[in-house]
Amino acid sequence: MTTSHRVAIAPSASLVPNIADANFIQLRDVYKSYGEGLVVMDCLSLDMRADDRLVIIGPSGSGKSSLLRVMMGLESIQGGTISFQGKPYIDGNSSKGRGKPLDVSLQTQIGMVFQHYTLFPHLSVLSNLILAPMKVHGLSKAQATEKARMFLARLGLENKLNGYPSQLSGGQKQRVAIARALMLEPKLMLFDEVTSALDPEMVTEVQSVMMQLAEEKMAMIIVTHDMHFAKNIASRVVFCANGKVVEQGHPSQIFTQPKEPRTREFLKKVLHLD
């Protein structure tokens, strides 16, 4: 992993959540299904500390991405509760919020990067970065531009400021997408298979940006199929199957001495494929 330019990419120290905060995120008995047949989260409970970097692994259809999408407010839950920074965030047990975030101000403290490129093609890199800070956080154009310059410089993309997404490589696009999410100074970052659509030679540049964020103690939840990367970045690995948390623990434990047979079986399969 190349971390040659070790400059902070998180905007300020105040961003880093209080390490002592063990109640950063609490999921309690979260239930979500698509129609009758497909249950993707089945009484799922999970805790996350503010200094955690959770990597979620598991077979496809095990609700990994759904968990991220629910946290981001893209999808609703039908049961259970989720709290964020000690405050009620999503309530699936009552009709309040219809299983989506109750509090927009909490929701805007979460940033997300997706598998497919989501840079807006009609806007320049700069405009992609400053759109939300200006419209959502009320920054002036000058302030937002200043901030965007700083982020792009730290990611080594300052010469792409006025370029358009179509002129960037896949890896550059994902790095800009990460910068765009960081512009809003999130307290939690969600990464949904962000390197899955990339050519192999571009995976590293994106992963090293994420490693840099990890060193700056950014709280993150990462869904990935890259077990090697999972081992490197995770503070805790969570293995999910059939909508439940089967096993969780430190990466060295999960990858070398998994307790549950299901975990062993899964790891045997994916590590063989590698």
């Binding site: 981001m72 893209l74 929701q107 997706f114 989501t118 807006f120 999410a181």
Partner: protein, 223 residues
């Protein structure tokens, strides 16, 4: 055919033709402004999740798509004053009929453009905290407009041609003026040829522009 062409009589009618041309351009431009703005609004209505909003919007579109434009204009002229007891000047009436017709067709063009915006972009908007109207204004509209532009412009030229239909209800547009001159001078061949040439000259550059845009979009997509 031993017809003797004679264009001299037209020189005395340039003023009238110019006035007619101005009316035609006015009809086409205002109809396009209406069609481009209301069309997007109508498109959003047809994509609304509530049936009782979606359904009337769709009905509006089908009404304009499934009846002749000539009939729509005539209907507006004769029926609107009778039904609603309002009397509006003929040009405004023509603009309304043409503009609403274009609104219906443009709504369909916009809809294809809106549906071409990738779902992930909408997710990204939520993740960025953009509100629904901000998402529509800053992300969906520009992308939809860009991909729908060739069709919108083709529809726009179409309405320039169809504006000639208002001559039937005595709006003094280019067609109407031409018809009067042709009848007065007994020179339909010269007059109508000239009128056709004027419509052609106005439309051709826009049609060429559409082709150029489409080629450019194809190149961009191939990249």
């Amino acid at each position: 055919m031993n017809y003797q062409f004679d264009f001299h009589f037209l020189s005395g009618n340039f003023g009238a033709l110019w006035d007619g041309l101005k009316v035609t351009v006015q009809l086409a431009l205002i109809s396009n402004v209406l069609g481009l703005t209301l069309g997007f609004g109508l498109c959003l209505l047809t994509l609304n999740r509530w049936f009782f909003i979606r359904w009337p919007a769709q009905l509006f579109i089908e009404f304009f798509r499934c009846t002749p434009a000539l009939l729509q204009i005539v209907w507006f002229f004769y029926c609107v004053p009778m039904l609603f007891n309002v009397f509006i000047d003929p040009i405004t009436m023509g603009v309304l009929a043409l503009g609403l017709n274009l609104t219906a067709f443009n709504a369909e063009a916009y809809r294809a453009g809106v549906q071409a915006v990738p779902r992930e972009h909408l997710d990204a908007c939520v993740a960025l905290g953009l509100r629904r109207w901000q998402r529509t204004l800053y992300v969906i509209l520009p992308q939809a407009l860009r991909s729908a532009l060739p069709v919108l412009m083709t529809n726009g030229i179409g309405i320039l041609q169809q504006s000639a239909l208002v001559a039937i209800v005595a709006v003094a547009d280019l067609m109407y003026v031409g018809k009067s001159i042709a009848t007065e001078a007994y020179r339909p061949l010269e007059t109508y040829s000239l009128i056709a040439l004027i419509y052609f000259a106005m439309s051709l550059p826009i049609a060429q522009l559409v082709q150029w845009l489409e080629r450019r979009q194809d190149v961009a997509q191939a990249r």
